[in-house]
């Protein structure tokens, strides 16, 4: 899902987008249409590869998938959970095809010493984090054949000692963010919670109190189930206002 896709889905004036399944023929007109994302050419037909929403933009036919896995991309910030460690590296579950690798040298600031090719040996151990820790990391290198390399050096990155972690299908993450961040700002302002949304389908939240956090989790699951419908932001705003009165919180 991209920003333009969200605009198309959210447009109330237009009809609901057609839900297609794999193998469904999207068009037989190959002169006017070109297969776009989530589609392929099969003989003289354009067919869908996923269960998703059919969107036509210019002369491209695209299918926005509703289910799928996260593919690591260089530069993405993701939430990982440490599942293994040994003296030279940590292995992180980043909800992707491969586990991510975090090396101790990528967890310390690059000093002048380090740049000259003499890493600070004293800090080069894996005692800093333990199995089960939740880290926000950045992917520094990713391709199809190797495990992604991670780093904790950068803005907002590092270990999270408190808060809650929830998971939703990765293709629905853009709906949580919304058009130009409208949905995430709505959630932040209405529930007074800190939210960190990452592309691998994980969301870290921390609120002032338990009630607000639970309200936020319920809201996120509502967005997840209704991701393919239009007019979502208004409906979510209404939902939170109603729920706050029902639950007796401000």
């Amino acid at each position: 899902m991209e920003i333009e896709d969200i605009e198309e889905i959210d447009n109330v004036q237009m009809k609901d987008k057609e839900i297609v399944i794999p193998g469904e023929v999207l068009s037989e007109d190959l002169t006017n249409f070109t297969p776009g994302r989530g589609t392929t050419k099969q003989g003289k037909k354009i067919i869908s590869l996923f269960v998703g929403l059919k969107v036509i933009r210019k002369n491209y036919i695209n299918v926005i998938p509703l289910r799928g896995i996260y593919t690591p991309t260089e530069g993405d910030k993701v939430i990982g959970v440490i599942i293994d460690k040994n003296p030279v590296k940590w292995t992180l579950d980043i909800n992707a095809r491969n586990c991510g690798i975090l090396k101790p040298s990528n967890t310390v600031e690059r000093t002048q010493k380090f740049k000259k090719g003499k890493p600070d040996r004293v800090r080069e151990t894996t005692e800093k984090f333990n199995v089960g820790d939740v880290l926000i990391v950045k992917i520094t290198q990713a391709d199809r054949l190797h495990r992604p390399e991670l780093t904790t050096q950068g803005k907002y990155l590092g270990k999270r000692n408190s808060g809650k972690l929830i998971e939703i299908p990765p293709p629905k993450i853009p709906r949580i963010i919304g058009r130009k961040g409208s949905m995430i700002n709505l959630l932040k302002n209405m529930t007074n919670c800190n939210i960190f949304v990452t592309q691998n389908g994980r969301i870290w939240i921390q609120g002032d109190n338990f009630e607000h956090e639970m309200l936020l989790i319920d809201t996120i699951h509502k967005i997840e189930t209704e991701a393919h419908t239009s007019g979502l932001t208004d409906r979510i705003k209404e939902f939170i206002i109603n729920e706050k009165i029902k639950r007796g919180i401000n």
Binding site: I21, P22, G23, F50, I69, H228
Partner: protein, 280 residues
Amino acid sequence: MSLLIKDESPEKLIGEDGKRLDGRDLNELRSIKMEVGVIPNADGSAYIEWGGNKIYAAVYGPREVHPRHDARPDRGILRTFYRMTTYSVSERKRPAPGRREKEISLVIKNAIEPVLFLELYPDSAVEVYIEVISADGGTRCACTTVAILALVDAGIPMRGLITAVAAGKVDGKLIIDCSGDEDKSGEADLPCAITWYNNQISLLQFDGIMDLEEFDRSLDLIMEALEKIHKLQEEALKKRYIDVRNNLKNYKPEVVPTSNIEEKIDLNNQKNQNGGDQTE
């Protein structure tokens, strides 16, 4: 008094009125119910009730292959695990995977593989776990039908769906969708699966005696039945999303006083200008 469940098949499988034991016509299917997304912890899952068969399928992956030497550097691998629970048949089934389970796992895997784009996931595996909770004939066809639904639900790209059904010969007559009794004491059994993107057969097994003309007629019966099942598969996949939309059309928000709360929501005074997704 001990409880004894007799496991005997009747002598005649087709009655004098031309109907089968369960009251079906010769070319009539059993009732089929399919559902998608039944197991929350799996990447994709599906459930089917096909007559007396009750089967769950769960898909995990693409994920790393263990043991690592099974991985292929040029493409991903598909692993299928067909298992029957101990209570799925009238006599207790031993839980260890036997010859039959391994064979059915293999034929299902070979039937599904041609529709997947496994070359997109080198060095990784897609794993399909199929658990038969209750068995009543034709489980390999039902398993193939439900496994593909679980794969679609997991978001794995594919060329199209697969549907399977079995034809058979009972008391000298050709039938479709054999039940457990017809499977055991019938004269022939012909499970068949086709891939819908090119209408090719991807699973065909044969057991029993049938002449060539009967074989051709059975395939015609199968094609007729497969189209009906394919429609049910499509419906099951779309129902999950269409139901949400239909519920929203009937949804009417409760009228509540909002004066206090609305004042606090001032979207114009946003502190964060970091693009929304990565802010704290």
